[in-house]
Structures are given as C-alpha cells and as structure tokens.
Symmetry: C2
Amino acid sequence: METISSARPVASPTGVTAAAVSAVRPLGVDAALVTGGWWAHRQRRISEVSIPDGRRQLEEAGNLENFRVAAGASSAEIRGPVFADSDVYKWLEAAAWEYARQPDADLLDAQLEITRLIAAAQQDDGYVNTVIQVRGDRYRNPARDHEHYCAGHLFQAAVAQSRCTGRDELLDIATRFADHLVDTFGPGRRQDVDGHPVVEMGLVELFRQTGRRAYLDLAHYFVEARGHGLTTRYGGNATYLSDRVPVRAATTVEGHAVRAVYLTAGATDVAVETGDTELIETLGRQYAAMVESKQYVTGGLGARWEGEAFGDPYELPSDRAYAETCAGIGAAQWAWRMLLATGEARYADQIELLLYNAVMPGISLSGDEYFYVNTLHLREGSHADNERTAAGGRHRWFDCACCPPNVMRTVAQLGGYLATTSDAGLQLQQYTDSRITAELPGGEFTVAVSTRYPWDGNVRVVVETAPTGDVELALRVPAWAAGATVDGVPVAAGEYARARRTFQAGDEVVLELPFEASVISSHPRVDATRSSVALRLGPLVYAIEQADQPGVVLDELRVDPAAPITAHHRPELLGGVNVLSVPVRGSGGDLSATAIPYFAWANRGVAPMRVWIPTA
Amino acid sequence: METISSARPVASPTGVTAAAVSAVRPLGVDAALVTGGWWAHRQRRISEVSIPDGRRQLEEAGNLENFRVAAGASSAEIRGPVFADSDVYKWLEAAAWEYARQPDADLLDAQLEITRLIAAAQQDDGYVNTVIQVRGDRYRNPARDHEHYCAGHLFQAAVAQSRCTGRDELLDIATRFADHLVDTFGPGRRQDVDGHPVVEMGLVELFRQTGRRAYLDLAHYFVEARGHGLTTRYGGNATYLSDRVPVRAATTVEGHAVRAVYLTAGATDVAVETGDTELIETLGRQYAAMVESKQYVTGGLGARWEGEAFGDPYELPSDRAYAETCAGIGAAQWAWRMLLATGEARYADQIELLLYNAVMPGISLSGDEYFYVNTLHLREGSHADNERTAAGGRHRWFDCACCPPNVMRTVAQLGGYLATTSDAGLQLQQYTDSRITAELPGGEFTVAVSTRYPWDGNVRVVVETAPTGDVELALRVPAWAAGATVDGVPVAAGEYARARRTFQAGDEVVLELPFEASVISSHPRVDATRSSVALRLGPLVYAIEQADQPGVVLDELRVDPAAPITAHHRPELLGGVNVLSVPVRGSGGDLSATAIPYFAWANRGVAPMRVWIPTA
C-alpha cells in the first residue's frame, strides 16, 4: 500500500492531512481543553455517570457478551439488533476522548479489556461482526445488515484510541478489517454500499491516522457508488437508505436523517482529502437547503417517525418531530467538516445550535437517562406507546441504543470543536471556559477563554503564550448576536471578528455578545408552526414546561410577540439556568409564563411542553 | 345451540334482531335502491370496472391461488401478507351487494366459484386460513396473525352472500368456522383476542343471520376481553392493537385507526343486541371525543403514519395525514351502528361526511386506482418513497390491498345506508336519487327521492305507496345546513325534520338545504392548521389543486376568509362537479383560485394540493 509522506495527524475530533484542501485545521488532541463552566459540568457527568453506566448497560444488554460468543468463549444467545457492535465501538470512542481529557488507569484498562474481546472475535481475514458471524451470512444483505456501519464505528473508535491513549491495539484490529474491506469492495471487486453510511468517515479518519491511501480510495468509492440504487437489489428502499440520488447530484437531504448526514459528513471528508472543491460546493448547497427547509428551530433533524426521516421541504411538525439525538450529532459532524473545508462561521453557528439544542436535550442533567426522539411539543393526554415516545419520559437505555454512546463520545470530544487553526492564526469557534493552543509558524499561540456562556455573552480571551510576528485571532460572532462588540468596537454578526497583530502574553481581547431574549418566527411555508413564535436567548432555544406553570393548560396559552420578555438567572433551577418570563394569555386570563432552556426539559418528570407558542 | 325465535333478518348493511335495543332499524336488502345521480354513477364504476378488475388483481397477487395451495390443488408459493384471505372475502362481499343491486348470472358464478375454492381449502374442523394452514402455526400468535380478522371478513361476506343471492354455500363455510371458534375461544376455553378486530362485527352479523346465540356470546367475549393486554403476551403493542384500555373504560379512540373503529363498531353491534345501553352511551362519548379532537375536516381518521394510528388529541397534520381509506369505511360502519342504536342525526351526518370525503377520495373516478393514505396536503418537491405516498399517485393495487375491496363493498352496499325505519315511520338519512320502501305496521311506505345532491340542496320526496294511518316521515337536516326548509317552513339543522300524518300516494315533500360555500376553521388547539381555513359546499370538503392554477405556488397562497366565495357547476370537469372560485393572494398578486371537491383530487395526475389554505 502507498503511504503518504505527511506527518501522522494527531488531531481532534478529525485529522486533516497536509495534502487536504481545507480552509482551517483541527487542533491536536490536548490542544483545546474545557476548563470550566457549563460544558465542564456536562463533561464531568459523562465521565462520572454516563460512561461507567454505559458500560454496565452494554454488558446487561448483551453487546459485550456478543463478542465473547463470536470468539467462542461463551455459549449465550446473540442479543440485540444487527448493529449491536457499533454501540460498543461508540462507547470505546467516548472512553478514549474522555481519557484524553483526563487520563485514568482504570478507564484505560476498561478500553483495553474490551479491545481484547474484539480481537478475540475478529476472524482471520480481518472481518469482525458478532451478529453476522454467529448468523453465518456475511455480506448477504448490505442494505439491511449494517456490516460496514459497524466497521465505520470501529474505525472511528480505533483512531480515537490511538490518538488519545497512544495504544494501537484497536487500530490494529481496525486496519486488518479495513484491509479486508479494501480487498473485497470497490472497482474491480464487489460493487456494493452499506445500507447505513458511516464507514466513509471511518475510512477517511483511518487514512488520516495511518496514511494508507487505499482507505481514502475506498471511502471515495463508497461515496460515489451511492445514489445508483445498489441497495435496491437487496430490497432496500433507496430514499430511506440515501441511495436514490448520487451525493454529487443531490440538492437537499432526504430519507433516514442519520444515514443522510453521516453520508454527507463522510463525503465532506472525502472531498477535503481529494481536493474536490466542486463536491464541497455541492455539499454546501445541500447544507443550506437543509437549514432552509428541513431543520427545526432547535437544530433538530428528521420530521418523520416513519423511517426516522427527513420530510418534504417545510414539513416540520413540532408534535411529531423525530429530531433523533443521533441526527443532531451527525449534523454537527457534517458541520464540523464543512467548517474545516470552508472556514465559514455559519458552520460553527450550526455546531453551537446543534450541540446545545439538538444533542444535549437527548441526555438528562443526571447523565444517565436519554431521549432518542426529541419532540418540540408534548400535549396533555399523550401516552407512551413505545420506548421513544416523549410521554414515557427519558429512558436509561434503549433496545436500539445508538444515541446514548453517541452523546457520550460527542461531549467527551467537545474540546476538539472549540477552535481551529490555519497558517494565519487561531479561530475561536465555541465559547466556554477553556485553554487553547495552536502551533503556528511563529511558535505556540495559547489563549485562555473565560466566560459565563451560555448564560451571558461576555467572552474574555487572555493570551498566555504568543508566537513571534503578526498572527490573526479570529472570534466567531454568532449570527444571532447582532450588536456584538470586540473591545468595545462594533463587529458584524454571522462572521469572524478578526484581529491581526503581534500579540504579547497578557494581552486581552473581550468579545461582548448581546444577550437579549428574542422571538423567532418560522418560514411562512411551514404550516406546523404558523402564527407561532419560539423563544431564544443567546445560543439557547427555550420551551415552556408544565412544571413551571402548574394548573395552566399550555396548549391554550397565547403570546403577544411584541410584549417584553425578561430574562434572569436561576442558580437553583435545573443546575442553574437563565429563565425567561413571557407575558401570555391563558384561559384563566393574563399571566407570566416561565420558559426554560429546551435542553433542560423533562428533568422534573414528564408533562406537557411547547417550544412554539401561538400568538394572540 | 340455542336458536332464538325471531324472524331471520334480511337487511342491509346490517341486520338487527327483534330483540335488539335500537332506536331505528335497517331496511331490507332490496328496500333502498340508488336510482340515479352521483352515487349511481359511482356504483356503476364499481360494477363495471372495480369488481372485475379487483378479481383480476386478486388472481395476479396470489390471493386466490393461495386457496388452491391450501386445498392441495396447487403447488405455488403462498403469497401476500398474513391477512391475504380477507381481501378475497371483502371482494366476495362487494360482489354480493352488487348482485343485490343488479342480479347478473356471471357475477353469481364468479362468487360461487371462489366460494368453492374456499370450501376446498377449509379444514375438517372448520378452520380456514390459507397462509396459516401452509405455515402450519395455527393460533401461534394472535397478536400478529390476523386469523380472527380473516374469519370476521369471511362471516361478513357469507352473510352478504346469503342475504343478497339467497345462496348459503359461503354461509355454511362461515358457520363451520364460527362453530370452531365458539368451541375454541371464550370463557372456560382459550382466552385470547385477535390483534385486529373485525370478528366481532362478523360474529354478530352471523348471529343475526342464523339466530345462533353462541356467535353473539363469543363476540361479546371478544369485546370484553380486550383492553387487558392479552395480546402483549405475544409481543403485541397494546395501544396499537386496541388492547390497552377496555372498550367500556375508554374515553376516546387510540392506536391503529382501522383496528380502533372496527372494534368500536363491533362493540356497538354487541351492545345493541345485548341491550347494553350503558355501553352505547360510553361508545357515544368515545365517538364524540373522536370527532372533537381526532378527526380531520374531511372525516379522515388517523394522524400518524407510524402505526397507521390516531395521534394525541388535536394532533391533525395535513401533510402527514394518514386518513386510511379503510379507517373512513370503519368509521362509517361504526356511525351506522350508532345511528341504529340511538337514532341521532349526528351519526348520519358522519356517514355523509365520511363517505364523500374520507372514503371516495380513496378511489379514482375511473374506478381502478386507489389511495390507501389520503393526505390533505401535497407539497411541491415531494417524492414517493413508498406505495402509499401521495406523490406517487393512485395505485392499481397494493401489496397490502385492504382498501380497494373495502371501497367496493361499501359503495355496492350504499343503498343500505340511505334510510332507516322504526314503528313510527321512515327516516331518510342520505340523499340521492333513490326509491325507498319501509314495511310499517300500517303497510308499505314507498317514497321516490329526486335531487341533484351533492350538487344542490333541493330534495324532492314523492310518496308512491302509503300505509294506512298516521306515519312519520323524517328527513335528516345536516348540521351544515342552517337555514333549511321543508315545504318552505324553516327547520332546524343537525336533527330530523319530522312530518307525522296520513300520507297519500302522490304526496310530495320538498326539503331545501342551503348550498352556500363556507369556510371552516379548525379547533384552536390544532396546531397544524392554525390561521388557515378549509372550504365546504354542501356535504363536500374542497381542495385547491395545481391543475386548476398552473404556475401558481399553492403553498404561497393566502386567503381572506371574509372574501366572497362563489360556486358554479362545471359539467365537463371531473365527471361534473361544483367548483368554488376563491379570491386569494399569491406571490404574483391577487388571483381567483379554483377549488374542486376533495374526493376528485389526483385524477389529473398528481401535483401539489391543499385542503387548508392559510389566511392572509
């Protein structure tokens, strides 16, 4: 195999090779650390609660035992869905990122123990998939069986383990499997694509980590082979499986939401590494079309329960929003890759929107309960008819448990999303207490960020180490932050405020983002939220929940969008949140409704909730 | 078996025994005939196109061959879903009603030929179900396998064949099967209910036809046994299967819409025959709750694709309306039974609403293409991702072909819904050119109805034969017809206009229903159609369709609900319909949109359509 000559990238959450065509680059694994504030608190819960609990759940649900069965070390029945292995891989990836954040011998042992289970199950030719091995029907139905999907998550976990712990045991398993895939699929070999994308991202990252070009080539093949109905030969629904329209020809997203955004994220990886600027532009138009007509105000994606799918343009019901937690994560991964490719602030805005309002609603404040589906409206009288129904409340785990470990890995790797770098300087993308280091041509550039974000908009950046010569410090000004200033000077929203100069240690730059509650109307073609408004303060979308207005019928409330909405911080509520006081009219007359951040809903039992409130 | 002494009822579409507690009774099979007008035209299409084509489809899809396989006369593979037999039974029922309408030797031969197929497949103990017989797993999973469901449709078909053709071959098959069920299920025997109700209606009708009380008792058992989660022992979802809440304790409908209304219809049959007035009252409250918060303006039922189910109260999206054709039919069956039980005009109003606007949209004007799902809104840019998606247009048949023969039997038996009788007199329930005869204590009462309904509201009733003494002629005044008159005298809408006197042959009564277009707003709790209006003229709900406004973006139109809407008849359009001219504002300025009856949409190709139009 050809090995490219560039240095092996050690980066988080994605590497980008030196040969790649990207506007900005990720930082190294240890180069951006959350040091405090809201995200630090959420990372602590992931570390202390979610990851240990997740391991227990994987043991209880049989996912780990499956590997013992496949290895011949257990005679138990294989349990769980065909993609059961992938939940183990996502947990391993979460554990790896968590280890990078905070090295811990026990956590490393746990990873290596599970890695040994996988090694024992792996077959001589590199293939590993516990369910399929036991069933004995390898590659029988690519539309259904998720074999590449599981492989893709293995590759991502392996790269994370290598980057974060320095151990290559999982990487060895991954490359053996990847080599087998290279020998089996692609031009001149078997022409097939998996029903569920993710192997594309996994292969490109494995290429970035190992330098083996064949992995990128196979990812490239998988991206280009889609959209020609290969899966329909196995009875697959081409729309559902992102196989109806070639990625290059698509004008928007459609079908199963997670599949769709995993595919476009992988396609972006391929485009960046192959320098395919035309494909990047196409993907940018698709992203914009998704935002325009297929994304909820929360960032949530997927309007249909049937097929966990995107709806038609402007089909965005609140009550039946699917907005799968995994779809929010997948979109954030896509946005991150588009940000690297283009350097455009709108993608960092998307990551902010998605993480706060589409991903974090999927995990309880306690860190051990999850939503798979994130509704924007729960009515009185609703009852749970399956494990995904909001009326049933959050769940400890699911029969289809894709979301919980997906949240874990996302939060554990959050530091990686905070900033990017380029030869010109450093770009701060997300705001939380943090310390960030970029290696620039003139030396190390380290800044400490302090802020109460997402509870106020004051962001103080202090230079700790400065490189020699002029460099650029770019601060993202979110599109919602009209009226922002840097050091008192007005700056435009929706782009970067850039300061280019020679910095000194101790220099301070202060970004001030206006934190005023605002009302949002939906596009006039969205029928489901016509004559209604949603509420926003800073990066957060708000919701009214029954717990804060006992005895009031939420569905009867009407709001005057011109009435003044006030905000204040409630440190005792829901771990400390800003709440909004919203003048409304109900059947009992005028009252002031309290709105809480949407991510915090359903942490005090489950009762009616609305994100969109009808206007008077 | 006990045989009750009352005369064997010969009635359409349901019999009611003399011992039953009902306010009004059905007429005999030949006692109410459509003689002309719109319904006659539709019946002709069913007769000339749908029924012959349906038989071909059942042969092509394997449903008929399955009986040959089960009888050992064919070695073909069993094809179709587990409930494949039921489509044959519904077709047989349609053919029977059609035969009553218009006796035809070939049609009788066709029925008897298929009946012989069924007889050959029937097992010695009376059981017959082709899929299960070949699979060899009788009663293995009542939650899933539809064995009673198929039996119920067999019973309905058998009663229809007996009543309409006088031939009892199918009835013999049915009673043997029913006897087997009586021996197998119920108190002291196997305690189970089928995942899909309909056997309750079938058993009661079989009781009515044969007088065998055990059939009623078993139906009674099946109704009472539901709602205690019996199906969950087989992995069934109790909500979906109408098995979460006992019928007697329910306050509304939930779960799979067809299952829910078939069950309540069967429960109504049981309540009427057992004199259970408390259950009738409970069912009446459930019906009212359904109308209040779970029924579309079209009468359509089922807001969710997921599980083909009722949503939460007020969850009524237009774009994702499921509104399965079969659910409209099931609701009409329930309404008919509630009408018999109570004699309340609101149930006849429901039948009118349902037949015109929830059932007939499910079949093309040509009579050979169907909608399974009846959306109320199709957007530009939608594409078909499965056979039920509106964007794919109407289909000749479906893999799950429950709806086509269900429409056939409903239209073929339409005469039966036109009128009811009681000792007091005759009640005219539905208006079309027709001849109706009731047997009253004072003799035969025959009236001829002539009208251009549903195109105007003038209904002329001429007495052809009058009984001796005073009798009551009751004319339903639909709730939408405020301002109606009988012979020039104002009468109240939403109830019956009753004339009690001694009629003479040649007497004439003229009902005049105001036919003025009106706008309808939805309940303020319905989010999906907030600030929008639907259009109605007479019994018909209207829609705007792309074909009538080329080049206009329907989703951008806004209507001023106070602007005058005019109506006129277009004999050349869609078989002759009233259209509405609606002043609207679009992106290109003011224009007059043309609205057509909703039932007629998607007969000129498939393109965007809206029932609800946003207000300016």
